[in-house]
């Protein structure tokens, strides 16, 4: 069937866009706190102050005439990432993995010149990637090193982990794996694979690409059933701590695992999308209800994580892990 029945979706607890905007975002996220997460530079400073690991800031460019200084800023680094400070949805991010005299190499192996980077930076400054075309700032960060645990599950990019945090409690999580189709970006719209992750254990539950179930990574052909994310507790704690850090009641924390520095936060989102429900094959509504039933939020991050792990753990005794069932059973 092409369309789902609204009644069934409701009974599964799927939250729609209107419900998200009305019941979650406008209810838990005061408008004045948005700049804290919409401006990645502010988020980074905030996180550093809170003792949360973030990718190292290599430099910033704020004015058009400073674009000339780019060569000097980039000189000492072989690998770096150029980001718009106010970009959203991974827009305008340029990753350079190799630097050889005047040539800079992208993960795909394409070589570009300094002039191309300067143009990209100039575009960001004039607001090409920012909301409403407002003037923007460019930040240059150190490149995150792919953790070997993901080496079989990603293609030309760094996978990231999205954790939805409601009132400081992690309620749902998803791993986003880069693919050839997504051009090395961890963006589900562009063809990245979304893997639902069990809050209780950090194990993969179910994977989708373009909204359809997949059993293995389209490029590496590796099945997801053995995938388990290391440092899971630490990741949950980092995400949960963002509540105190920003004051946002409903947020999506994007984290990565760095080979050398471990879990770190790369971005926070005050309007996290709903694709996570598809990747998890579960609705957010029942989990939102559990958290909303709590009278006072526990100030202890570890206690909150423990509560979430116990509440939202995937019960393998009742349901067999979904990935173990074949896709033919679904069709």
């Amino acid at each position: 069937m092409l369309l789902a029945s609204a009644k069934k979706l409701r009974s599964f607890g799927i939250i729609g866009m209107n419900q998200r905007n009305f019941g979650l975002i406008s209810r838990y996220n005061p408008r004045h706190l948005y700049p804290l997460v919409d401006d990645k530079l502010k988020t980074k400073l905030l996180a550093q102050k809170a003792g949360i690991t973030v990718p190292q800031l290599l430099g910033t460019v704020q004015y058009q005439h400073d674009v000339r200084l780019l060569k000097a800023i980039l000189q000492p680094y072989d690998q770096f990432v150029i980001k718009p400070v106010k970009g959203s949805g991974g827009k305008g991010i340029l990753v350079i993995t190799e630097h050889d005299h005047n040539l800079y190499f992208k993960p795909s192996g394409d070589a570009i010149q300094l002039a191309d980077i300067e143009r990209h930076v100039s575009n960001i400054l004039s607001g090409l990637h920012s909301l409403g075309g407002k003037p923007d700032t460019v930040m240059i960060e150190s490149l995150i090193q792919l953790d070997p645990v993901f080496s079989d599950y990603s293609y030309e990019g760094i996978p990231d982990i999205r954790i939805i945090v409601l009132r400081g409690y992690p309620i749902m999580s998803m791993l986003r794996l880069t693919t050839h189709a997504s051009d090395g970006k961890a963006n589900l719209h562009q063809g990245a694979v979304g893997v639902g992750v069990d809050i209780g254990t950090g194990r993969a539950l179910h994977a989708v690409q373009y909204g359809e179930s997949v059993a293995h990574h389209p490029d590496t052909r590796k099945t997801f059933s053995e995938l388990a994310i290391p440092h899971w507790d630490k990741l949950l704690q980092l995400a949960a701590a963002c509540y105190e850090m920003t004051g946002l009641g409903y947020l999506g924390a994007d984290l990565v695992l760095d080979r050398d520095h471990g879990p770190m936060i790369i971005e926070l989102n005050a309007r996290p999308g709903l694709a996570i429900q598809v990747a998890n094959r579960a609705g957010l509504a029942p989990r939102v209800a559990v958290i909303e039933a709590i009278k006072t939020v526990d100030p202890d991050v570890q206690a909150r994580v423990a509560f979430s792990k116990q509440q939202f753990a995937f019960d393998t005794d009742v349901h067999p892990p979904r990935l173990l069932r074949t896709r033919s059973g679904d069709r």
């Binding site: 069937m1 092409l2 369309l3 789902a4 029945s5 609204a6 069934k8 979706l9 409701r10 599964f12 799927i14 729609g16 866009m17 209107n18 419900q19 009305f22 019941g23 058009q64 827009k91 305008g92 143009r119 100039s122 004039s126 607001g127 090409l128 990637h129 075309g133 003037p135 719209h189 562009q190 989708v208 909204g211 359809e212 179930s213 709903l274 429900q277 598809v278 094959r281 609705g283 349901h319 979904r322 069932r325 059973g329 679904d330 069709r331």
Partner: protein, 516 residues
């Protein structure tokens, strides 16, 4: 919860006010709810002819009374060299022409334009309570005949209404008895018959009066007034046709005069004659009502869009359609979940489509945006700053529009010259946005959003060009409040969008499988 309560009370208030005002205008002021409502405007001309004898002349003529169900648009009194005045008395309005001296044939005109309306009117309480009927004077023979006739009629009737009808039919019977022939014969005039009926009724103790009326028929000339008998029954005056006995006011009858006053008095003249001619014209009901209410300075109309100059009225005709477009956008985005490029860009395109007509408009839009995207992709390689780039796009758009206009003119395609109705700045923004979208998310997203915008624009266009909607928005601007209430309610909608039912349809399959 209290916020919700507040919202709903605002919504109910808006709905009540909007709908209430609309109903008031419809029922009390007579505004039609459909643009196709037509009304007959009757123009009645009364021509008074007489021969003056060279003495001072006074002509006094009864004018029709104003009642709630008839609207007099215009009254005209014309007669050269005569002084004129209009007098109102409890007996009714009269026109009076006067002149010091006049001789020879004279003519006076009275012209009236009027139309009937269906309006909720309380049946007029008979304020004019009838006097106790005076016993008429009959000579002995006639009196005996009358008493015999009344006895006969009385024995056949149960109440006043039936009695009156029976009396009239008996008087009009084809084969009159001898008794009857004494009272009335074929040579008796209409006026004699009327007065006979009234006198007979008075003899029976029933109050009655004469009513003169004019049948409204298109293209009639040399008409005269018809006589009716109005009888006081219960607390109302009931009209009877004196030739058939049928009761009630005929449909197309204009009551001209009630009571026994003369229709026309001429002092200082002779051979006076009066004749009526009638012409019917059909007008839009709304035009008649607006004209009439403007004249009467009714508050709701006097302080309305109608009081603006025509040019501004036309501008408002357009502006008042915008809320309809906004409603369509809200529905498309919140209920359907269509993605559009720019929230209200579709409305502006729809406005342009109204000017250019649908097909031409779409072709022009696609041409301008398509060409614009091509040129914009070149601009993006020039390394321009943002504001400079969008300004460049504006100039490019204007150039494209100019070339389309000139080219189509040379080719003899007049339709394409309407290209100037497209909002240039908005088109430039659309091109800029779509071009960025193309670079970031690929052509697919451009087609989704572009198609969504165009579809929304076309649907908005269809609604905004609907004759009835156009008519209602302009003539009942208070319906905007109803629209506002709808949008407020939609703003509370937290259910799924249609597009989400598709987006999450894979989830449904899982759960069906999970139940096995």
């Amino acid at each position: 919860m209290s916020a919700k309560l507040r919202l709903y009370s605002v919504v109910i208030l808006l709905l009540a006010f909007g709908i209430g005002l609309t109903l008031y205008k419809h029922f009390a002021l007579g505004f039609p709810l459909s643009p196709d409502d037509k009304k007959s405007l009757w123009t009645i001309e009364a021509r008074i002819d007489f021969v003056a004898r060279g003495d001072p002349v006074i002509v006094s003529f009864a004018l029709p009374p104003q009642t709630p169900t008839v609207v007099f648009m215009e009254e005209d009194f014309a007669s050269s060299d005569y002084g004129f005045s209009e007098m109102t008395s409890p007996a009714g309005r009269r026109a009076q022409w006067s002149r010091r001296t006049a001789s020879g044939p004279q003519t006076a005109y009275y012209r009236l334009s009027m139309y009937e309306i269906d309006r909720l009117v309380h049946p007029p309480v008979a304020a004019d309570l009838p006097p106790e009927p005076e016993k008429p004077e009959f000579d002995e023979v006639l009196k005996t005949a009358a008493t015999t006739l009344l006895d006969q009629v009385r024995s056949r009737s149960a109440n006043t209404e039936i009695f009156t009808r029976e009396l009239i039919t008996t008087l009009n019977s084809k084969a009159p008895s001898q008794n009857l022939s004494l009272l009335i014969n074929e040579r008796s005039s209409e006026d004699y018959k009327t007065h006979l009926i009234i006198n007979l009724l008075a003899l029976e103790g029933i109050s009655a009066r004469i009513v003169r009326g004019l049948y409204l028929e298109d293209g009639r000339r040399r008409q005269s007034l018809s006589n009716f008998v109005e009888v006081y029954i219960g607390n109302e005056w009931l009209m009877f046709n004196q030739n058939t006995g049928k009761s009630g006011k005929p449909k197309k009858l204009l009551v001209w005069q009630r009571g026994d006053q003369s229709l026309l008095d001429v002092v200082g003249g002779k051979n006076s004659q009066i004749s009526f001619s009638i012409i019917r014209n059909v007008y839009s009901a709304r035009d008649l009502v607006v004209h009439d209410q403007m004249n009467k300075q009714v508050g709701t109309i006097d302080f309305s869009i109608y009081s603006l100059p025509i040019e501004q009225q036309n501008a408002f005709k357009m502006i008042l359609l915008l809320p309809i477009g906004a409603l369509i956008v809200v529905i498309m985005r919140l209920l359907i979940g269509l993605r559009t490029s720019g929230t209200f860009m579709p409305i502006l395109i729809a406005l342009a489509l109204i000017q250019t007509t649908l097909l031409t408009g779409i072709i022009i839009f696609l041409t301008v945006v398509g060409t614009g995207l091509l040129i914009r992709s070149y601009l993006s390689r020039l390394n321009l700053l943002f504001v400079a780039r969008i300004s460049a796009v504006i100039i490019v758009v204007i150039a494209i529009m100019a070339s389309i206009s000139i080219l189509s003119n040379k080719l003899g395609l007049d339709e394409a010259m309407t290209v100037t109705f497209f909002p240039m700045i908005i088109l430039s923004w659309t091109i800029e946005r779509m071009s960025v979208l193309w670079e970031e998310d690929g052509p697919r997203e451009v087609f989704i959003q572009g198609g969504g915008s165009l579809l929304t624009a076309v649907i908005a266009y269809i609604f905004m060009t609907n004759r009835t909607i156009e008519y209602l928005t302009f003539n009942f601007p208070e319906l905007m409040l109803v629209n506002l209430a709808l949008i407020l309610i939609l703003g509370q909608y937290t259910g799924y969008r249609l597009s989400e039912l598709y987006r999450f349809h894979a989830l449904e399959r899982r759960n069906v499988a999970g139940k096995r």
